[in-house]
């Protein structure tokens, strides 16, 4: 992926460009959570499975730190999508 061109789409589900991510970082939103919430990157159908690592790389590049030093966000369930009508039928005990 071209991480030089600001028009590059980083998150395909929510249609977010590299330029938008960089703009958020420039304004001081430097954690994965803040960027997700503000730009919606990683909030679409695939829930960031495709773009999460890319986002970490971009934040790291912009802040000149290592991707392992970027503050992580929490992965939220469910890990596969489930239709509401199925959930409505199935009651399971939590444990």
């Amino acid at each position: 992926m071209n991480l030089k061109d600001d028009n590059t789409i980083v998150c395909r589900c929510a249609d977010v460009t590299l330029g938008e991510i960089k703009e958020a970082i420039r304004k001081g939103y430097t954690t994965l959570d803040e960027i997700k919430r503000l730009t919606r990157a990683g909030m679409g159908q695939c829930q960031g499975k495709t773009c999460r690592n890319l986002l970490l790389q971009i934040i790291a590049n912009e802040l000149h730190i290592s991707p392992t030093d970027v503050e992580l966000s929490r992965l939220r369930p469910p890990s596969v999508t489930i239709p509401l009508e199925l959930l409505a039928k199935e009651d399971a005990n939590e444990n």
Partner: protein, 384 residues
Amino acid sequence: MKTKAAVVVIGGGVIGTAIAYELTLRGVRDIVLVEKNTLFSGATARCGAGVRQQWGTEMNLRLSIGSVKRYETLAEELDYPHGIEFSQTGYFMPVYTEKQRQQFEKNVSLQRKFGLDVQYLQPEECRSIVPIVSLDGLLGATYYDKDGYLSPFHTTAAYAEAAKRNGVCIEKNTEVLGFTMEKETIRSVKTNRGDISCDCVVNAAGGWSQEIAQMAHVTLPLFSERHQILVTEPIEPLFRPMVMSFTHGFYTQQEPNGAILMGVGDPHEPKGYNMDHSYHFLHTVASLVTSVLPAVGKARVVRQWSGLYNISPDKAPILGLPKEVNNMFLAVGFSGHGFMVAPMVSEMIAQMITNEELSIPEARTQLDLGRYDRGERIVEPSVV
């Protein structure tokens, strides 16, 4: 970080950032806002962001009507080019019992006195507003097309960025640990990144506000409670307004991109700070919502999360000073509907700090903490 400030605002949610901005409008300089995590990381980031004016008491009507008016032009006022995504697609509140019908009719006549053109719909009219609503047991609904919702993230970012431009220092990852007190006065705020001496403090710490107050030996009659929420994949447009059923306890909204948001309170939820999510919630909200809106059953859940309601005895906010401390202004206890009143609340807290008359003068004696000691309450019939 600064070690001295006129005002220290605690909390980087919509309430804290809006108060910081409102203070700058009144010429207050030297404001520091401290947030233990990042901006919009508390309830503000997790909320349904619905904004309704269909309330049943004069105070709640004033708070919400004034706030909606401000939200309508806030993006321009704050010079926030992205916009705050305010979408006035209405609130639809179905009626299922005779008692509810009488109450809602009373509410509508009060709402109309306040200039809101709220409609009382007969069952057969409901489908012209929500085509997919089940008519099972439905006695009618109220509907107001100027209610709606907006982006909690962009709204908070817009307030925060305007506050910053006006000179406010926003300190993220800065946790308040305690206060240095002199009798009834807070002299400085202790944080994990050092102390800030100050003239006054604003407690806008959301679900943690009672902990902050306790640091100044003030016991607030508040508790926090987890509320869960989910969002589905986008599907074709099915309904426009927020649908909020007091009978079932849920609210649900389809966003412009087609994703459907929904939440429901759990009467058995214990008090506390738990922010996990449960399967029980998925099942409950799915069965309740699909019983009223069967067509949403095919939507697939992509994410669930939760946040804290900060609940007061009458489910109305507490604004102003406690009697024990003369410089800690409270903006707390929003009981699950603080986002929709943020503009009015923040304006009035700033007015209190600068000794101006309040936009709603009665708020001084009706929303203060002392009301509970005096045995007074806001008696709101229309709250989930």
